[in-house]
């Protein structure tokens, strides 16, 4: 397909449709409102669902309901809105439903500002929702990457039956760049009939399905947490992405950065190199793979100094999460 010039927010909306997601619920917030403004026109063209909810709290549960019924569904928001959705994200993770959340980050804390920021890293990778829940997180550095990650997010959410988050920022959302949409989405068939509340008649079944997160029996609750933990471990093992830049030299320092900042840092590495100073860069595009121990898995085993603090509750083996 030919390249088109598109604003990040609009490209994200289009990418979801190309990924076969025809259900979108959202609440306006800068700097991501263009996704809704794009999809309110685009969804009817493809027979999809668009609904502006009354709050991010409600939108989080609209997503839960639709995901529980077995339909592909996504929302977009920005930092304060994601905080409100994080309750629903915990419920969705606990009930093991697939859904995609896009965070076009802005400055915080509090109402913060409307300019791009990367401040929700810890929230996204370690601290979303209550209880032991984790997301798969992908952080794009360009509009093209945002498109590809959004398209990848749906099959990943279905593969793991877990919410996936695209961690973009105001730069990704507002910037116009040439993008090319992949034509086809490769999706492995997943058996939603095994768990979704899509109606017994619909799946030709005599047994009903439950979508729930309550386990009053502590043994059952523990069991559910062990199932989730095994799944999170599998996500870490199978989905970690890592990229190194100018690390095949005797570098004096190594920058770790993610998302749009990795693009800025890449330029900084080039400028320093021109001045004869070797600095390398590693980037975890999944926002996952850097640990406090300072090792970036998938890249060389260099000791690095992360530019953000990374809490690592998974022991001294240097595994991030």
């Amino acid at each position: 397909m030919a390249k088109v010039l598109m604003k990040g927010n609009e490209a994200i909306g289009e990418a979801a449709i190309r990924a076969g997601c025809l259900n979108y619920f959202a609440y306006p917030i800068t700097p991501q409102s263009e996704v809704a403004e794009y999809l309110v026109r685009r969804m009817p063209e493809v027979g999809g669902v668009f609904l502006q909810g009354e709050s991010e709290v409600a939108v989080g549960y609209m997503i839960f309901g639709a995901a529980g019924a077995g339909e592909r569904v996504f929302t977009t928001s920005s930092s304060p809105g994601i905080s409100l959705m994080s309750e629903a994200i915990s419920y969705i993770a606990a009930a093991q439903c697939p859904a995609v959340f896009v965070n076009i980050m802005r400055g915080g804390p509090g109402l913060g500002g409307i300019l791009p920021s990367q401040a929700d890293y810890l929230q996204a990778t370690k601290g979303i929702g209550h209880g032991d829940c984790r997301l798969l997180v992908m952080a794009p550095a360009s509009v093209q990457e945002a498109v590809e990650m959004v398209m990848k997010a749906f099959p990943l959410a279905e593969k793991y039956r877990n919410p996936v988050m695209i961690l973009g920022d105001g730069l990704i959302g507002q910037m116009m760049e040439p993008v090319e949409f992949p034509d086809h989405l490769k999706t492995e068939a997943t058996n939603k009939d095994a768990w979704a509340t899509n109606g017994m008649d619909h799946r030709n079944s005599k047994t009903r399905n439950l979508v729930k997160s309550l386990f009053l029996d502590p043994v059952q609750l523990n069991d559910n947490n062990l199932v989730l933990k095994a799944k999170y471990d599998r996500m870490r093992a199978e989905e970690v992405m890592s990229e190194s830049y100018h690390t095949d030299c005797d570098y004096k320092g190594l920058i770790v950065s993610y998302g749009t900042m990795s693009r800025v840092c890449r330029t900084a590495v080039d400028m320093l190199k021109a001045e004869g100073i070797d600095v390398g860069m590693v980037r975890p595009p999944d926002g996952f793979s850097v640990s406090r121990k300072g090792r970036c898995r998938g890249s060389d085993e260099a000791v690095v100094h992360p530019c953000a603090e990374h809490r690592d509750e998974h022991g001294p083996d240097g595994r991030g999460c």
Partner: protein, 245 residues
């Protein structure tokens, strides 16, 4: 001779955890009978609240989702929008619907979402041990209003049926009770009407059912029925508050 009274297919064959004299069980039965009679069990999705009915999915026998406290109308919206062919209902208590979930129910009703809400108003937070609800009566004693609800401090109890009926969007809004057989038949009619409007894709529909909580009211089941009839029904008057044109 055929059986004239049997357990609806839409109910599971199990014991409930509800207290003696609690009306949750009667309401479950009316919903289940309705679902059987309309022949929609295979395409119904119920949504359980957080409240004494959180385990409702153990008592009904069809697909169920469990909401967070107050958010059932948002979940129902999500399901119904992406699968309009499914029959969707929320089952919510008064703390769930009239307190923490006030925003979700008003907006769902105002959008005219085509699902049904069964609103169980027992004027108290049953599940958490009898705290004051927005629907608790003036001077009613609860664990967080031990000297009686003081209306000058916390306002008057909220009449949800009237409040929702005031919205301009067409809807079916009714209030009933199930404390005596004469009321049960009317409640059944209302619940069936509510589901029928959904089946016809006509409007949002809600039936408020004035209910008992003898355990947290500190009453015997008989006293609870008497207090409901004398005090609750005087304030929460039964009837249809809104009917679509």
């Amino acid at each position: 001779m055929g059986k004239t009274f049997k357990k609806p297919e839409a109910l599971s064959d199990t014991h409930t955890h509800y207290c003696p004299g609690c009306t949750h069980g009667v309401i479950h039965r009316l919903v289940a009978e309705t679902i059987d009679e309309l022949g929609i069990r295979g395409r119904t999705v119920g949504i359980a609240p957080v409240g004494c009915a959180v385990l409702a999915y153990n008592y009904f026998n069809f697909d169920f989702q469990e909401a967070a406290h107050g958010r059932a109308p948002a979940m129902a919206t999500g399901i119904k929008r992406v699968r309009p062919d499914l029959m969707v209902f929320t089952y919510q208590g008064d703390g769930d619907l009239a307190s923490i979930g006030m925003g979700e129910i008003i907006h769902a009703a105002n959008r005219g979402e085509k699902f049904t809400t069964i609103f169980v108003n027992n004027a108290i937070y049953g599940m958490t041990g009898g705290q004051m609800a927005p629907t608790t009566m003036p001077d009613q004693r609860t664990s967080t209003s031990p000297f009686g609800r003081k209306v000058d401090e916390v306002g008057m109890p909220i009449k949800m049926a009237e409040l929702l009926a005031a919205l301009q969007t067409p809807a079916y809004i009714s209030r009933q009770t199930v404390i005596k057989p004469k009321y049960i038949n009317k409640a059944k009619k209302s619940i069936k009407q509510a589901f029928t409007y959904q089946l016809e894709n006509k409007c949002f529909s809600l039936v408020e059912v004035v209910s008992t909580c003898p355990t947290n009211w500190g009453m015997t089941p008989v006293q609870a029925v008497e207090w409901t009839e004398k005090t609750l029904l005087a304030y929460y008057q039964p009837g249809d508050y809104k009917v679509p044109a």
